[in-house]
Symmetry: C2
Subunit: 197 residues, 2 copies
């Protein structure tokens, strides 16, 4: 009955704040929820409220957790001498799925991105320096992305930590398993050749 921006417009505005969602998608999402899936609207409202209250950062590795320290950091079966540095919880999850790593993690929750104004202080570099100097960690494995930004991040970390007497390594670059050489890009081939073992 009122001409004030209504509940529908407010919902569209709120959906637009999601990354990658423009006006058209926000509209489509709002219409879909209100017309076809109100249970999903309720579920999302509850999940947002709960996550916003419950989710914080692990005091040791910085990943998302609902506890003071996450289950991975508390796992006594993991090798506390290795600390593997990733950009996001999704990267950590991918490495866990590979089943090939049994040490601990540090999650930067981002990477250097000077163009977006994300510098050394915006990623967890200071907490990482502190974490790595617990006297138990002796190898730091850098598993940031193999992009310009991920490489810059790895370099910044290596520069800060090599003076501390830690061994700092980097995931190998190379030909993906299952790839035919002729379809692999030239940069990857060059790296695979240089890093040959």
């Amino acid at each position: 009955m009122s001409a004030a921006p209504g509940a529908l417009e407010a919902l569209i505005d709120a959906l637009r704040r999601l990354p990658g969602v423009g006006q058209k998608s926000a509209q489509r999402m709002a219409y879909h929820l209100l017309q076809h899936d109100r249970p999903a609207a309720r579920q999302l409202a509850q999940a947002l409220g709960h996550a916003e209250q419950a989710v914080r950062h692990c005091a040791r590795c910085h990943t998302f957790t609902e506890a003071e320290v996450c289950a991975t950091c508390l796992d006594p079966a993991r090798d506390a001498r290795q600390l593997l540095v990733v950009e996001t919880p999704a990267d950590q999850a991918a490495l866990e799925r590979s089943g090939s790593y049994r040490g601990l993690y540090f999650v930067l929750m981002g990477r250097l991105s000077p163009l977006d104004g994300i510098g050394v202080h915006d990623i967890g570099l200071a907490p990482l320096l502190q974490r790595a100097q617990d006297g138990v960690v002796d190898e730091l494995i850098l598993a940031t992305s193999f992009t310009a930004e991920g490489e810059a991040t790895a370099q910044a970390i290596a520069q800060a930590l090599r003076p501390q007497g830690l061994s700092v390594t980097r995931l190998a670059r190379g030909v993906p398993v299952g790839s035919e050489l002729e379809f692999v890009d030239l940069g990857t081939l060059a790296h695979a050749l240089a890093d040959r073992r």
Copy 2:
């Protein structure tokens, strides 16, 4: 501290129910909200809850509204003899922006889509038939999409309403204003020629 699916996973699951959002996007959205924009998470939770409670369908035109009857339907300055049928509130908003229509609307909230199991009963055809027979409406303007599904929807409506003695018209197909002919698709050109005035 628990191994149960946590608040973060629940949030990712809820975001995946939004149309066009897969696992990767849902993850990216959840990380973004929790890491960089918790106010947006709170805003979205509130907007969802409020819209889900407040938004219903206009008793006359079926669009989303927070009142029994929407402001457009209640506007005495509009010509109640014309009823223009659109698929979505977004289509109605586009026509309003054109400033070229002063009659009333009926919003189907969908269109026929046999492949998705959306038939005549899932769009607002019965309420439209009832609405159009108020004794005041004398022209029904069909402004469904110019797609196969939109055309089928328009045809179904026309078949149902022509016997009622109403004048049923369709938006003109033609060359978009500002287009150069050579870049207009052939189907549109053919229609523009057939519908020439």
